[in-house]
Amino acid sequence: MNPPEPNTMALGEPAAVRPLAPRVAKADAHWRNRSNLAVGASVLAALTAPLFVQNFVVFQLTLVMIYGLAILGLNLLTGFNGQFSLGHSAFYGIGAYTAAIMMNQNIDYYWTLPCAGAVCFVVGFLFGLPALRLQGIYLALATFALAAAMPQILKFQPLEPLTGGVQGISLLKPDPPLGVPLNADQWLYYFTLAVLLLMLAGAASFVKSRSGRAIMAIRDHPIAAAAMGIDTALYKTLTFGLSALYTGVAGALGAIVIQFVGPDSFPFLLSVSFLVGLVVGGVGSIPGSLVGGVFVLFVPNLAERISTGLSGAIYGVILLIVIFAMPLGAAGFARWAATRLRFARNPATTGSVGRK
């Protein structure tokens, strides 16, 4: 018979643990302050950045946020719920087309975001229903089918009056509201930033909520989660829908900022880019998704700058180096670096954590 564990712990090490406890709590509070400070500084930097750089860079930073948001959607599904998807380019595309079609009917761009989110939630939820029976790579394959089908669905003849067929849809760039002393690019940046912060906060509180704990429990141990009374089927489909919603809103923002949607804009390769961003940023890390966005946008440019002819190969090499140096992504790397730093500053308090 197994002896209950807490007892052995209590017998073996009380003397060592108890005196440390207050100091650990103090150090944690210190570090929580530090991380709050980091979040504050990032938000401040994000708020002021467009005032100091050219419009083109503002546009790029906007795209980074949009890709980050799309990756966040994938992260909710893969990182927190353990389901794989190669089909998020499809949800991104559906979101983008929803926005483009609505804007073509002279509906204001900001109304397109909730609609794109709602449409993608429904599509994601419905797709999640049959997909529930599939696990791991089989689910990945089913979602791959969705991504592969999307460009062709968008070209589908009967839908042409809506989608513009192969020609796609060109959009006008929205102007800032009257009286706001910003140009169109800066305005879209702040608009995207506001949406992003809102959705980041939403994701963070969702993950911390009962539902968030439920989906993580399903990821870690589905049978145990079911035994605890979690409706695994419902939560998995809801997560699928929520994930699609996030990516769809990103797609809508993307359409507004790029001012063009076409079937060739949403190839399967985009799904792979999201997956790369997810892994590079850190699976299961909300801020990591933004790092993923940075990677997706800037690393191909960097590779091209090194050698135009070999850009693909150089991209591959950079990706290998990144994965080798940061096997847990940027978020894992940051956690590791923080513990190292903490250990170096104050080895006594956190000795056992700092070694790994």
Binding site: P151, P181, L182, F260, S265, P300
Partner: protein, 407 residues
């Protein structure tokens, strides 16, 4: 309130700087990207991604401008050719072109490659009033001087090529049953429309029009169903990869129609060799460039110039790939426009001169083909010539055809 003021001041600062810089430039009548010693020209192309076989076109363009610079540039100004990879992805094209216009401050963007990619920047270029000159795609929509006065095509457009095929069929095989293979996008549908329009009231001669997607692994099933439909004329408008597959498959299943191959897929190096030269014998196609593998040009001065250029400036380029002829020919047209501009190198004047080309000949265009444009005619090349593949090379026949719609 205070914060807003500070922001607006900060936001205004770069604009004020730019304003301060303008008077100095305006005195010499230079647009962005031009100085006494340099003209900046931007470009995007598929160095990676699904269409990377066309990546050699911008590479040969860069090589051509190196040669121009070695020879002293254009009116004493060196060409600074800035070319970025867009991987044939429209969102990436938008990003790269915005970089060219807003960060690199190019005078103009020359021959961005691809139809979806050019569509994505079409509105931006015309809103920003930056010349989008000689786009490397034959879609018919680029010839729209009224609606899009800052965009101009270059090669004969796909619809006019389609008209040419229809005319050829009507003349040589009036009772034919036609099958058309086309790419399921603007480019492919342009060809299909050209053939259909060209047949006029005989459009029912087309028994099967089969689309393919660029993501398809093969076009085998399309070819099999064409044979099954009893077609005896095959109009193959695929890009090299699919054109080659189609020719090979037709030979495999012993389907022997009269084959008409569109100019996008008629490169000996990129399409016919992979298809098997013996399978390509008898195929008919249309041309506006000198085929570099054709020995009849051996002593042609234009061809010799081109070979000398390739050997010196682009030795790693494949001399049987017609993309390496397209690039330098585009550049030659561009250089002519810049020459005509003289010292008035504004974006407005560039467009004016681009719409003011008369009887301009490019060394690697077929003899007799002239480039003509006007403020109402944004289609520089309109003439074509037919040719037949004899198992080794293309043999031209007939006279120059003006690929206009039969009206």
């Amino acid at each position: 309130m205070k914060k807003v003021t500070r922001r607006s001041i900060l936001a205004a600062a770069p604009a004020a700087l730019a304003l301060a810089a303008i008077p100095a430039r305006a005195a010499k009548n230079y647009g962005p990207g031009v100085s006494d010693t340099e003209i900046k020209i931007g470009n995007t192309g598929p160095y990676s991604g699904p269409a990377s076989s066309y990546g050699t076109i911008p590479k040969s363009e860069a090589a051509y401008f190196r040669m121009v610079n070695d020879q002293g540039g254009v009116n004493g100004r060196k060409i600074n050719f800035i070319s970025y990879d867009d991987a044939y992805s429209p969102p990436k094209t938008v990003e790269q072109v915005r970089k060219l216009v807003e960060e690199d401050h190019v005078l103009l963007v020359m021959s961005p490659l691809g139809t979806p990619t050019n569509s994505a920047i079409w509105r931006y270029m015309n809103a920003k009033k930056v010349p989008q000159l000689f786009v490397a795609t034959g879609a018919t929509k680029w010839d729209d001087p009224k609606g899009h006065p800052w965009t101009m095509g270059w090669q004969p457009n796909y619809q006019s090529e389609g008209h040419t095929y229809a005319a050829y069929i009507l003349q040589n095989k009036p009772g034919a049953k036609i099958a058309v293979l086309y790419q399921n996008d603007d480019f492919g549908k342009d060809y299909l429309k050209g053939v259909t329009d060209g047949l006029g009231d005989k459009a029912n001669m087309i028994v099967l029009a089969a689309p393919y997607e660029t993501t398809d692994p093969t076009v085998d099933s399309q070819i099999i169903s064409m044979k099954a439909a009893g077609a005896d004329v095959f109009v193959n408008t695929g890009i090299p990869k699919f054109a080659a597959q189609a020719i090979r498959k037709a030979a495999e299943i012993e389907w022997k129609p009269l084959q008409i191959l569109a100019s996008v897929g008629n490169s000996v190096g990129a399409a016919l060799k992979p298809a098997g030269l013996q399978n390509a014998k008898g195929i008919v196609s249309d041309f506006y460039l000198k085929d570099p593998t054709d020995p009849q040009w051996k002593n042609d001065p234009g061809y010799q110039q081109w070979v000398a250029f390739m050997d010196k400036y682009y030795p790693e380029g494949d001399k049987s790939d017609s993309g390496n002829v397209t690039g330098p020919s585009l550049c030659a047209t561009m250089v002519q426009v810049l020459k005509q501009c003289g010292d008035n190198l504004t974006r407005e004047n560039v467009m004016q001169q681009a719409a003011n080309l008369h009887h301009f000949r490019v060394p690697m265009l077929l003899p007799g083909i002239e480039i003509n444009t006007s403020p109402t005619d944004f289609a520089p090349i309109k003439q074509l010539q037919m040719g037949r593949f004899d198992g080794q090379r293309w043999q031209l026949f007939g006279s120059l055809i003006s690929g206009q719609a039969p009206s």
